[in-house]
């Protein structure tokens, strides 16, 4: 069930979608910028958090700079009736940040996707081997990153300025 955004909610989302001010009073500054009371800003954010539209407010870190230089997307070919069990086992690894089921097709048989992180390429490979052993699946592919082409926060409200 999707709840439509109010006019103030849209203004707030447009203002903070790419990040909040790095000031000592970020919410106050955002409120001032969009012309509402700080309590309105806090109330909206709390309501988003409560209904799940927002997971949290927090720092987004560059994982390269906190010691996790290596990462890989690994795609797994899992039998249909084991997807849920395998997905949950994958999710239990602290080195795994993302685990999803996605559709497979004739030319792409993989249906479980994981992002694995570690200090170095070897750590990541070790983790992947451990995951493979734990779930008992050998049909997988590590899609190594050659280059990051783009990484920007989502734009939910188009505001004209980029």
């Amino acid at each position: 069930m999707v709840i439509a955004l109010s006019e103030i909610e849209r203004r707030l989302l447009a203002e903070i979608q790419h990040g909040m001010p790095a000031s000592s009073t970020p919410y106050r500054d955002v409120a001032e910028k969009i012309g509402v009371d700080i309590d309105d800003v806090l109330e909206i954010l709390n309501s988003w958090k409560k209904d799940g539209r927002m997971r949290r407010v927090g720092a987004i870190v560059n994982h390269f700079k906190v010691g996790l230089q290596a990462g890989a997307m690994v795609v797994w070919q899992v039998e249909e009736d084991r997807i849920e069990e395998v997905g949950k086992m994958m999710a239990s690894f602290p080195e795994v940040s993302h685990a999803y089921e996605r559709p497979s097709n004739d030319q792409w048989p993989f249906n479980v996707y994981t992002m694995v992180h570690g200090p170095g390429a070897e750590d990541v490979r070790d983790t992947i081997k451990k995951m493979s052993a734990k779930v008992g699946i050998k049909n997988y592919k590590q899609l190594e990153t050659i280059r990051e082409l783009k990484k920007v926060p989502p734009t939910y409200i188009l505001t004209g300025d980029k």
Binding site: A4, R55, V57, G58, V96
Partner: protein
């Protein structure tokens, strides 16, 4: 980066208080002065260790549609693909990967129709076949937690 920086990074990723004085609350939790915390945070943002303080949105619940997609393009088309991808605000992350499907990207848009439009426009601009595009929307979420514990 010292121990305090690592503590700050961990704390700021967990739950940034929704309060008039978020840094005062975090400083109390860490048992340090607010001014020291603010200086450290500014430095961590300045060095790019913290990309930003922001909101983590559940795009589906917020009313948006998304997918992970991959395209198979010839090596000499990678640069032009990059330029095309750059023009779409709906495409948020993109990676060149070592696979026959070599360009991977995420699309977040106001509707499923718009997601499909973006994929179709890209396909036409790249002059590739339908079979050169993988559209892989989430069927089931097992984990999404991109909060990282600093290790050094």
């Amino acid at each position: 980066m010292d121990k305090l920086d690592r503590q700050i990074i961990t704390e700021l990723q967990m739950d940034f208080p929704i309060s008039p004085d978020p840094y005062g609350i975090i400083a109390d939790r860490l048992g340090i002065d607010t001014d020291i915390l603010l200086d450290r945070v500014q430095a961590l943002i300045g060095s790019g260790t913290i990309r930003r303080i922001g909101i983590s949105v559940d795009s589906r619940k917020m009313g948006y549609s998304s997918t992970l997609a991959a395209v198979r393009v010839a090596p000499d088309s990678v640069e032009s693909a990059c330029e095309i991808i750059e023009t779409y605000p709906e495409i948020t992350h993109s990676y060149l990967r070592a696979d026959e499907f070599n360009i991977w990207f995420t699309v977040i848009a106001i509707s499923q129709q718009r997601v499909h439009e973006v994929l179709e426009e890209l396909r036409v601009k790249l002059n590739i076949e339908l079979s050169d595009v993988l559209d892989l929307p989430v069927k089931q979420l097992f984990k999404l937690d991109a909060r990282f514990k600093p290790t050094k």
